[in-house]
């Protein structure tokens, strides 16, 4: 076995790193490193720089503008971008909707929508969760009925990330009554400026406006703005959510954050001594670093297996569980390293600007979401139990 990357891979990483360092706007990078959300303009500028380099859609096939990379190269690209503080790619359009369209969309949808996703001409958001359909996603009640050549949509979505800056939304809606709740669902493609749509912000406890409620009141869209066949939405949704899992452990991001933790522990004084000189805290850092190494190697084993053509297995659930727990544990250690300073002053200036210390508390609270969203860790363990024990 060989755990080292070969020269090609190392060269590739250096090329990516150099590109990020000379092309990423320092202000945007700063925002990402503080755990704040870059705005749409900043993300678009960065995305278009990647597109210009031919790296705009790492996982897409070459015919749609992908770079033709291997699984390993895609993984390394994600890692370097995370380590360097680049904004995340526009995940809903690029990594969720696009693969579904490529497989189930009409030629017209593919030709029209994909380039707009790539360039962020369209910012897509995802309309899946509802107040009574969280972990139990198939319980969605938002419905659409066909009236002539239009779908008429009524209902409500919730936890819709960045709906307030999105151009379009893909929605899981009920288009037929069916005996099983997984049947009769469809995925519709809706413009956010369609009459009858109302977006209501949800402010989270980190003070951020990231998620929203989206209300549909007799919203009308063309009958053709549907993915694949009506009634098959559940299959498409599963395909969409199952896609692109190797980045799920967030190894690059955690690596960056452990670097931050170590730097901080060397600088900060607690109880009259540098925090790093407290053997208990130093053991805590060491444990986190070792856990991250185990997670990284486990991810690489999975990447390596996919590269060799193995089908994706239950490893993705393991990576999701441990990756999210580790993100949270590291964030907690960083907040602890700051001590009371992580809590104040809450805001400097008029807006949501904060000190770097307080940003770590906000990140700690923000990251509570990673064990809840995308299938809570309880759901992930249920899935693993089924696949491991067959019960």
């Amino acid at each position: 076995m060989n755990l080292d990357f070969d020269d090609d891979a190392l060269g590739f990483m250096e090329e990516v790193r150099a590109f990020v360092r000379s092309n990423l706007d320092p202000g945007t990078r700063e925002k990402v490193l503080l755990g704040h959300l870059p705005d749409r303009v900043e993300r678009t500028i960065w995305q278009r720089a990647l597109v210009a380099r031919g790296w705009g859609a790492p996982a897409w096939p070459v015919e749609h503008g992908g770079p033709g990379w291997s699984v390993v190269e895609r993984y390394l690209f994600d890692e370097v971008l995370s380590e360097e503080g680049a904004p995340m790619p526009p995940v809903f359009g690029m990594s969720m909707l696009a693969p579904v369209l490529m497989r189930y969309g009409t030629p017209q949808q593919i030709n029209e929508l994909l380039p707009r996703i790539l360039n962020i001409d369209d910012w897509w958001c995802q309309g899946f969760s509802e107040p009574n359909a969280g972990s139990d996603l198939a319980a969605v009640r938002t419905c659409a009925r066909l009236e002539g050549d239009e779908w008429v949509i009524n209902g409500q979505k919730i936890w819709t990330t960045l709906a307030h800056q999105a151009d379009r939304i893909f929605c899981l809606v009920r288009t037929e009554d069916a005996p099983k709740k997984q049947e009769g669902l469809s995925i519709l493609l809706v413009s956010m400026d369609a009459p009858g749509i109302t977006v209501k912000p949800i402010i989270t406890i980190d003070g951020a406006h990231e998620v929203n409620e989206v209300f549909f009141d007799d919203v009308r869209i063309p009958a053709g703005d549907i993915v694949g066949q009506a009634g098959k939405g559940w299959d498409y949704a599963k395909y969409l959510l199952g896609h692109e899992r190797t980045g799920i452990a967030r190894v690059g991001q955690s690596k960056r954050e452990i670097g931050r933790l170590k730097t901080l522990a060397a600088a900060v004084v607690r109880g009259g001594r540098p925090l790093r000189d407290d053997p208990v805290f130093s053991a805590r850092i060491a444990s986190l670093e070792i856990e991250l190494r185990a997670l990284e190697l486990t991810t690489l084993r999975m990447v390596s297996a996919l590269h060799a053509g193995a089908p994706p297995g239950s490893e993705a659930n393991i990576l999701k569980i441990r990756g999210s727990e580790l993100q949270q544990d590291i964030a907690e250690a960083i907040m602890d390293a700051w001590g009371p300073e992580a809590f104040g002053p809450a805001f400097v200036g008029d807006g949501l600007e904060t000190s770097p210390a307080v940003a770590t508390a906000m990140t700690y609270f923000n990251l509570r979401k990673v064990s809840i969203y995308g299938g809570s860790n309880e759901i992930q363990r249920n899935i693993l139990a089924r696949s491991l024990m067959g019960l």
């Binding site: 969760s129 009574n132 969280g134 972990s135 139990d136 319980a139 919730i158 936890w159 949800i202 402010i203 989270t204 406890i205 003070g207 998620v211 004084v269 607690r270 109880g271 009259g272 407290d278 208990v280 805290f281 907040m335 602890d336 001590g339 009371p340 300073e341 992580a342 809590f343 104040g344 002053p345 809450a346 805001f347 307080v358 508390a361 906000m362 700690y364 609270f365 509570r368 979401k369 064990s371 809840i372 969203y373 809570s376 860790n377 309880e378 363990r381």
Partner: protein, 377 residues
């Protein structure tokens, strides 16, 4: 051995819980509940009902009760989302004035604190390293008084204080001074903390206070400050119990009413057991909050600090378990400002890291613990 509340404490508990309960009902419809709001909104009533003066001597306008009376109030305020300035003003600074003040100082401050008309707070730590016990702030004799020089960081409730109890080194050692917020040479940078409570950074530049501003003997404040900080920590311990108890109730209720997969999510065994672990943590933490409340009156300072740190370490650990489980069991809703759980967890999270975090208290306990096992007290 007796764990029963006195009749007075039962009455205090009923009064405080009713007050908090009414307030919560009034604000629940109105959206976001910040930890700060309950106690600051209720401050006038706390004064009217005599709760601010529960422990202060009758001669100074109070009811002449015990720390345990305060513990009952702190738990009730915790259930309302946090005790805010109650710990800093009533438990910590007013007690220092009671302990060290001369007749004039007491008369000037304590009746006003009891009524809710004035707030006095302790400004001790120069930096946010609240586990450190060195103070660089100095006081130099000047004609008719003292000149103070230095800074104080993150003074809890310092944003709304009328008078600060400032610790500073004179030639003889650590000494306390009463410094009005309006004193010349004192600049106050008020801030809102992340849990919605207030604090302030102070700068003392050539700040003059008259001779009668000295609180207690010169050079002799070390023990009193340690005592006051143990009191502050015991207050945090009891406030945290209230916060955790409310989080447990809130979570139980949510598990019973929230439905997914056609049943209340509380039917899922994994969620049940996590809820049970929240309760177990709460019950054991509650015992330690009692210990802390009793310990602050221990004449043996070493044992007092040991027990307070034991309580804070245990409750700190419990706070993490309870806070994180409360969020996870609720799911996304707990992460919104609309829903109260998040605000409670924020306050718990701040408390756990203030005046020594769990690690610091654990280490202090280890140093103060008996080399052999502690037998039944």
């Amino acid at each position: 051995m007796d764990f029963r509340l006195t009749d007075t404490q039962t009455l205090i508990a009923e009064t405080a819980n009713a007050l908090v309960g009414q307030h919560l009902q009034a604000v629940r419809g109105g959206g976001a509940l910040q930890a700060s709001q309950t106690t600051s909104a209720l401050w006038p009533q706390l004064g009217e009902l005599g709760l601010l003066g529960a422990e202060i001597d009758e001669a100074d306008g109070g009811s002449g009760g015990t720390f345990e009376d305060l513990a009952v109030i702190l738990q009730a305020l915790g259930r309302g989302g946090g005790a805010g300035a109650f710990g800093p003003v009533v438990v910590t600074a007013a007690a220092l004035v009671s302990r060290l003040g001369d007749a004039a100082q007491k008369a000037a401050l304590l009746p006003a604190v009891v009524e809710g008309a004035k707030r006095v707070v302790l400004a001790h730590h120069d930096t946010t390293d609240q586990g450190a016990d060195d103070v660089a702030t100095t006081a130099i004799p000047a004609s008719g008084g003292w000149k103070l020089e230095g800074r104080k960081a993150m003074v809890f409730a310092g944003d709304s204080a009328d008078v600060f109890v400032v610790s500073a080194h004179t030639a003889k050692g650590l000494t306390l001074f009463l410094v009005p917020a309006t004193a010349e040479g004192l600049s106050i940078r008020s801030m809102e903390l992340y849990d919605g409570t207030g604090a302030a950074d102070l700068e003392l530049n050539d700040c003059f206070v008259p001779a009668d501003a000295r609180l207690g003997a010169e050079g002799d404040a070390g023990d009193a400050v340690a005592w006051a900080l143990d009191r502050a920590n015991a207050a945090f311990a009891n406030e945290a119990i209230g916060l955790m108890a409310e989080l447990c109730d809130m979570t139980s209720e949510y598990l019973k009413t929230r439905e997914q997969f056609g049943q209340p999510i509380g039917k899922f065994q994994v969620l049940q057991h996590r809820m049970v672990d929240m309760r177990i943590n709460l019950e054991l933490a509650r015992s330690m909050a009692i210990l802390a409340a009793v310990a602050v009156s221990d004449p043996d300072g070493r044992r007092r600090s040991r027990d307070v740190s034991a309580a804070r370490a245990a409750i700190g650990k419990a706070s993490r378990v309870v806070g994180q489980a409360a969020i996870q069991l609720h799911g996304a809703i707990a992460l919104t400002q609309e829903y109260p759980a998040g605000s409670f967890v924020k306050r718990l999270t701040l408390i756990e890291r203030s005046y020594g975090d769990t690690r610091w208290h654990l280490e202090r306990f280890a140093k103060l613990a008996d080399p052999a096992v502690v037998l039944i007290p």
